[in-house]
């Protein structure tokens, strides 16, 4: 990884040149039919210099994407844009669509979040890259453009680029599509690349690859990069400067080190403290940042963060603070040129924070853990859930009327684990590894194709309907997307009571139970007759949790319960889950891709790859000493929201994508991507090629790898 920041001179020199991009007082307003207009961006100013890497961080709705689309002139025509955007001396807002078209794709390019919908489905990837070249170079022949497109695909690391250029977007994986988008964006050697959440839709291993390609693209073209993200971890290792947005305003702007080491704005402090850090996770409670941003149609007169700010004073409610420099030496000095090298923040109390009078724990104190009388954990109690050798294969068929089987999808291919009462098992792996199928099999409570599912010691395959219905009380689920998990047509009281209706609970008892549950998850029981759309994401997830608890289950399956929530909300939900577990002695099966959260909440962790568990053991041990190369790669790909650590970490990048689960791989099925395999001498490789490794106990951890003793050469630890 290039280490731009420690090598300070080039940046400092560049900063004396006139900026490449200068945004001044940019505002974007969307008028609404029959209602107040949405003030998406409210007077933001910043600069980007040549070759600089700026990270714009903010939650959904903070205006970070809208402001970048305004740069490109790609907002809907109904949007009202004011202020000025100077790019290379031209004022972009004064140009018409045709003039802007000459700049877009040549000097400023953009990479979008969802690479599937961002590529036109009916043209080949090669043609779409060639299009970007042909649009800006009339002299270029079609053939030369096609050849250059192949070359670009090669640069961004797509194997067999000649063949891939002729493929359509749907034939690409998510990671490859994003690579193709990057290829498109660097086609004309741009001066500025705007990347709008480029890795949000991708798995953590693929995210690491894409960020690597983006860095490469940057160094290849010398372009400045504006990376828009909600993930502090992503910018920590890559950005030179960070701009934090909140409710359409820039609230803090400084170098990455300044913002991470000494944030001046309470919102930034809250964000940084609420994000679980994979290194420290599990040792202390998370710091919640409660509430949600104000509605952009009805902004309060004062600071928009005041409602959520623990240190708000009366001035905060009256006037909105402006961006000022609050260096410890000279607090409150107005900044001469906006967006210069200064570290600026918009907070009435930033001076106190900068001077150290208010420390970060003062602003967002860490909540005390819930005190529950210690329960005796009986070692030989029966597990709540035992899964042994679970198999779920799907036939892959082709054709409709005369269908024939052309393969087998080995979604779950012999998975075994168990969960003790009061314990949490974290199930991690990339999407497509079989996590979801595993929990679906458990929840369907049907006879598995092979293997056994025991719930409370009872084999689900042997139970009749009535017994199964009774058993369903004990196992409940919380889904990933709280909006999708709640029927929008029912008031939340009915939603929470639904599991009770199945078991014939009387209406009066149901109402009482709903009130009790709402109270338990930290919601006001008065709200039971409201509809889901009236709640924020975090609150909806609390409703989902309340529903899962209605029948007093013993096991709750948590399917990525916080990954659809904004970062600031996640901590509150995680803390609630931890408290409930203690209070009610619940067991969790926690499915997640975010390793920091798994480390925070789980007692045991199982790492899945291609339908198998490849590593299984106590969470502390697995994270401290990952033995399987895949676990090592996962851990090393997960970004850590700390620039110093990010820059010095050793990374193990996985090659390529998850192979298709239809593929029949001889020997170890991780071999095709294994970073260790490539380092092994041939005689050791032979073992990987011929024999499928089984889980074997190493100390307290079970690992499915032939060469555990060699895995230290990769040198990954958190």
């Amino acid at each position: 990884m290039t280490n731009l920041l420690t090598n300070e001179n080039p940046i400092a020199n560049r900063r004396t040149d006139p900026p490449l991009l200068e945004v001044r007082d940019l505002s974007v307003t969307f008028p609404q039919r029959g209602g107040p207009s949405v003030q998406a961006v409210r007077g933001i100013s910043y600069q980007v210099h040549k070759g600089e890497f700026l990270g714009i961080v903010g939650e959904s709705g903070s205006g970070k994407s809208v402001s970048s689309l305004a740069l490109m002139g790609l907002l809907p025509s109904s949007a009202e844009v004011t202020g000025s955007i100077l790019f290379g001396g031209r004022s972009l807002l004064e140009l018409n669509d045709r003039q802007l078209s000459g700049i877009r794709g040549r000097e400023i390019t953009m990479i979008f979040q969802d690479p599937l919908s961002a590529l036109t489905p009916v043209y080949t990837v090669g043609d779409q890259i060639a299009e970007a070249l042909l649009l800006h170079d009339a002299a270029l022949s079609k053939r030369a453009a096609a050849a250059r497109a192949v070359e670009l695909l090669k640069i961004v690391g797509i194997p067999a680029p000649e063949r891939r250029a002729r493929a359509f977007p749907h034939e690409f994986s998510g990671g490859m599509r994003q690579r193709a988008m990057i290829a498109m964006s660097i086609a004309n050697d741009p001066l500025l690349i705007i990347a709008d959440e480029p890795t949000t839709a991708l798995d953590v291993t693929i995210q690491a690859q894409i960020l690597e390609v983006l860095e490469q693209a940057k160094s290849l073209t010398g372009a400045a990069v504006v990376l828009i993200t909600h993930d502090l971890g992503v910018v920590a290792g890559h950005a030179d400067r960070i701009a934090v947005m909140y409710a359409g305003k820039l609230v803090e702007n400084g170098t990455t080190d300044e913002v991470f080491a000494a944030p001046h704005m309470p919102y930034t402090i809250g964000l940084l403290r609420s994000v679980p850090n994979m290194q420290t996770a599990g040792t202390q409670r998370l710091v919640p940042l409660e509430g949600r941003p104000p509605s952009l149609t009805a902004l309060p007169s004062g600071c928009p963060f005041a409602a959520r700010c623990p240190i708000a004073v009366s001035a905060c409610l009256e006037t909105e603070p402006v961006l000022l420099e609050h260096a410890p030496a000279a607090p409150g000095v107005p900044v001469a040129g906006l967006g210069e090298t200064a570290h600026v923040a918009a907070c009435h109390r930033a001076a106190e924070i900068a001077s150290g009078a208010l420390t970060r724990p003062d602003v967002f104190p860490r909540p005390e853990p819930l005190v529950v009388e210690h329960r005796e954990r009986n070692a030989d109690t029966e597990p709540v859930l035992t899964v042994t050798g679970l198999v779920r294969h799907f036939p892959l068929t082709k054709g409709g009327v005369f269908s024939r089987q052309i393969g087998t999808v080995r979604a779950v291919d012999g998975v075994s684990f168990s969960i003790q009462p009061g314990q949490t098992l974290g199930l991690v792996g990339e999407s497509g590894c079989g996590k979801s199928t595993t929990i679906l099999e458990i929840l369907e409570m049907a006879k598995p194709q092979a293997g056994q599912i025991l719930i409370d010691g009872q084999d689900v395959a042997s139970l009749n309907r009535a017994d199964l219905l009774r058993l369903r009380k004990d196992v409940q689920i919380v889904f990933q997307d709280p909006m999708a998990a709640l029927d929008p047509r029912l008031p939340i009281g009915d939603i929470i009571a639904e599991p009770l209706t199945v078991h014939g609970v009387k209406p009066a008892d149901r109402r009482a139970r709903v009130a009790e549950l709402l109270d338990l998850v930290g919601l006001d029981p008065e709200m039971s007759d409201r509809y889901p759309h009236e709640f924020s994401g975090g609150q909806r997830q609390r409703v989902g949790i309340a529903r899962a608890l209605a029948t007093n289950p013993r096991l709750v399956v948590l399917d990525e319960p916080v990954s659809a929530l904004d970062v600031s909300i996640q901590a509150g939900v995680i803390n609630l889950l931890e408290d409930l577990k203690e209070q009610l002695n619940l067991s969790y099966l926690f499915v997640a891709h975010d390793l920091a959260i798994v480390r925070q909440i789980a007692d045991t962790v199982a790492v899945m790859y291609l339908g198998r568990i490849v590593e299984y053991g106590p969470v502390a041990e697995v994270f401290a000493h990952p033995r399987h190369p895949y676990t090592q790669a996962l851990i090393s790909a997960a970004p850590i929201p700390d620039p110093e650590i990010e820059r010095s970490r050793k990374r193990v990048l996985l090659e390529g994508d998850l192979p298709s689960p239809t593929e029949q791989i001889d020997g170890c099925n991780f071999r095709s991507r294994c970073p260790l395999y490539t380092l092994l001498p041939p005689q050791k490789r032979a073992l990987c090629e011929s024999i499928d490794p089984l889980l074997a106990l190493h100390d307290t951890v079970e690992t499915a790898c032939h060469h555990v003793e060699d895995s230290a050469v990769l040198g990954v630890a958190v």
Binding site: M72, L74, S117, T120, P121, V122, A132, H170
Partner: protein, 327 residues
Amino acid sequence: MVFYIFRRFVNYFFLSLIATCLAYVVSSLALDPAAKYYGRNPQPTQQTIDNILNGLGVNPDVPVLQRLWDWLVNIVVHGSLGNGVNGVSIGDQIISRAGVSLRLLLIGSLIGAIVGVTLGVWGAVRQYKLSDQAVTYGSYLIFATPTFVIGVLLMIGATALNGAAGMQLITFTGEYSAGLTGSWWDLALDRGIHLLLPTIALVLIGAAGYSRYQRSVMLDVLSADFIRTARAKGRSRNSALVRHGVRVALIPMSTFFAYSFGTLISGSIMLEIVFSFHGMGEFALNAISQSDINAVAGTTLFVAILILFSSTLSEVLYAALDPRVRN
């Protein structure tokens, strides 16, 4: 891809076949071909009536499935659809009339599709502007008007126009002016003028449906991410809409084409009757009123074959437009 389309064709083939058989059974049960002979004066003997009915293969005393089987065997072995109550071969009658119907149907639906798609794209791009509103209300007005009313109103309008002009500018009864002699060109022109009003009516119906559907598909495409990508690459708005937007928005239209074709067939049949064309519409009308089972079955077979071909064509279009279904 060829295999995919072939499979779809086989699927439609069986559907059409079964639908035709069902139509045969239903019309055999619903129609009473013997009735009109009993009404004759002098009434023919039972023997005579039975002979006639047996000759046509429509004797209600023979089980209907047996008759269906005979009918199918007759088609496969002799390529014959049987005779009508007037004793003339159904196949010959259909062949002599099919051209009239197909000409109207194909010209009308083709122009209707082109006009409709154009208006739909235009309306979507100019959403909520006056021109879009005009197209929208116009298409709702057409939806609210029965096909035959459109036809008759066009006739009333043409009569008024002829009256105002003081001469026969537009002639509209029948397919051609009876007894007209002249060069090949004069005859073709005469037919063209006769075809004008029903074609306009059919184009209006088709364009109303296509434009609504194309507009809504296009609106979805307008907000699609790939349009933004194309603009981010340096395409101007209009060029991105045409090169990327319209191209993608045409994909669902191929399916809509198959759906709407049935409506257009009904519409064109109605228009033929209104404009006194001697086409399949009149044939079907007579068949029902004369309880001619073979003619009804022949008509359904004709329609089913049209549907079979239009559905297959729409699959071909779909596969040609969308690379995602090709393999």
